[in-house]
Amino acid sequence: MDVILNQMDEFAPVAGPVAGLVMKNEPVVIKRRVVRQLGHLEALESEAIHIMREVAAECANPALLFSGGKDSIVLLRLAEKAFRPGRFPFPLMHVDTGHNFPEVIEFRDRRVKQLGERLIVASMEDSIKQGRVVLRSENQSRNPFQSVTLLDAIAEHGFDACIGGARRDEEKARAKERIFSFRDEFGQWDPKNQRPELWDLYNARVHPGENIRVFPISNWTELDVWEYISREGLEVPHIYFAHRRDVIRRGSGLLPISHLVQPKEGEKVENLMVRFRTVGDMSCTCPVESAAVGIGEIIAETAITRITERGATRMDDQTSEASMELRKREGYF
């Protein structure tokens, strides 16, 4: 069977005042070969595996950030694909706010055990005890302070790279970030002065004290993540599926009742069918009303949703126009 491949460029330097490179565009016919084109998930997967292997090869002491959330669950599967039958060339690290959903912590520990890999827990409780994090109130959102604990852990363990599950479709500042994102010795991101990032030739070089944040699933959308979880048959914490829960309405969202969130005067507790689109700090992560009890239904809902993941679920991102950018500048993921 003859197949015409896409035009194979052939170029020759041209004399004269024209251009350096000119190509002839003649289709190349190759006999008896049908070339398989990767599906878009396969292509994203291969890109991510390539990125993880580059980190393993070029960085002296990397870590992979694992929170128990869906994006980092995907990262772990990608790491298995990148490194098995070998072991992961890095430990996993969880920046633990102490404000976690218990189901997520239970899941985290179980998954780590299944994999037989090492988990480091960087605990914000410790940062608070050491006076590195000062809270206004015990129940306030701890998300903004994760950077302190993260940076302390990076310094303590001497990590030169941290692999994270952030995606560019999540937020407008993230949409600007490189896959290999350079952080200076204070962990800061300088959005106006990012390294050029060409093709897939990543520059992971840093001086001592500096580090790189690496986002292998930068180009994935929320929908891609769910489709991948479904395709791979990955387990996720139950709170991603619709369940009954006591919630109150506050601001534009729902907040789950817990020891951190109690109804204020005039707020009514409702018992609704909800699911979480992200799992974060329990005091500010909002569920959405949903009847999706299975992955297929989540995918269907995600495909038609009219509200972004963070818009729907993170109260702390809505406090100011640039809250994510500011946090990232200070060292956030």
Binding site: G20, N219, R306
Partner: protein
Amino acid sequence: MSVIENISFDHSELLRFITAGSVDDGKSTLIGRLLHDSKSIFEDQLSAIAHTSRKRGMEAVDLSLLTDGLQAEREQGITIDVAYRYFATPKRKFIIADTPGHEQYTRNMVTGASTANLAIILIDARKGVLTQSRRHAYLASLVGIPHLVVAVNKMDLVGYSQDVFERICQEFHRFVAGLNLKNIAYIPMSALNGDMVVERGSNLGWYKGMTLMDLLEKVPVDHDINLEDFRFPVQLVCRPQTEEWHDFRGYMGRIESGSISVGDEVQVLPSGLTSRIREIVTYEGNVEDAVAPQSVTLTIEDHLDISRGDMLVKTSQLPQVTKEFDAMLCWLSEQSLDSRRKYLIKHTTRVVKAVISRIDYRLDINTLNHDAADTLKMNDIARVSLKVHQPLVWDAYPRNHATGSFIVIDEVTNNTVAAGMICPSKGQG
């Protein structure tokens, strides 16, 4: 020769495109319009940018805010760095990179361009073809973007005049005549009002071609992957040394081009030793064959010394292995090229020391003339000769983007200072 018969075509194709062109030509507005009119903006995003627009005293929603997400960009009303956006229509998935027009930020435009299948070059109908429009068209051709759309924007400000449109098309056409851009489409539009973006609108009745969205959905997705020559740069060597995998020695990497089957004869470069493929290992189990751009682990029949930076190729399709070659270079750093210094080059998975031994010429972006030069400043494009300490295994860039591209790194600052594309050696096609 390997024969791959199993076809499993994708459920959804992926098209990566960029917007480019001079400052204020309307690139970010166009992306906003495209997303808005294709119903791809989420409600909370729309209400957030509507709020910001109102705060800034604008009457209508400023759609450029959708991609201009940094504080500094919003303050100045310009794009500083690439923003990535994702959207899908029933026909395709799209990754958009909105790049800055400002000359100062050309490096960020190149960042976006290096992975694109299609570029939309915007031109302000009032201003015509500017230096920066030329620079971006040239860069698009240099990095080998297969499709170009010239969007003559702000047609509302020139009375939707067909004459203006045609004059600009001709001017652009004259400029690109010498470049390797073959598939060029010209579309008149108003990103602000939405004419010819997703909807045809009622102002450009004389234009009979496709709308931008039509074109984006129909243009063939030319992957710039070379499907012929097998190239496998080794990223890592896997030696688990566990009971179960005691003697396992796998070469991990991504097939950058071509395909491979179990039993194929391969050569290891630069050493030149040969062997055969024993297994193609994946997480799902071993497979008989694999194609670009799959990431896999390969084992071979013989014990050879192979490490990161080496490349496996098929003996029937050999690349070049040299310590000297010519390349087109885009200088991206504020610090000019110092030809006395050594730089690092990252090419596939290999990092080597290099000197830029000669600048053949520097390009004048307006005339495409070749000028003599002894240094390169930020945004200069030049043809240079390089010498490297260790041989590189390469193909000319137009034949193979993956094995023909490299970056130049300053060893002192660790910054990426230039992008390079290897030219065919003299006398080669």
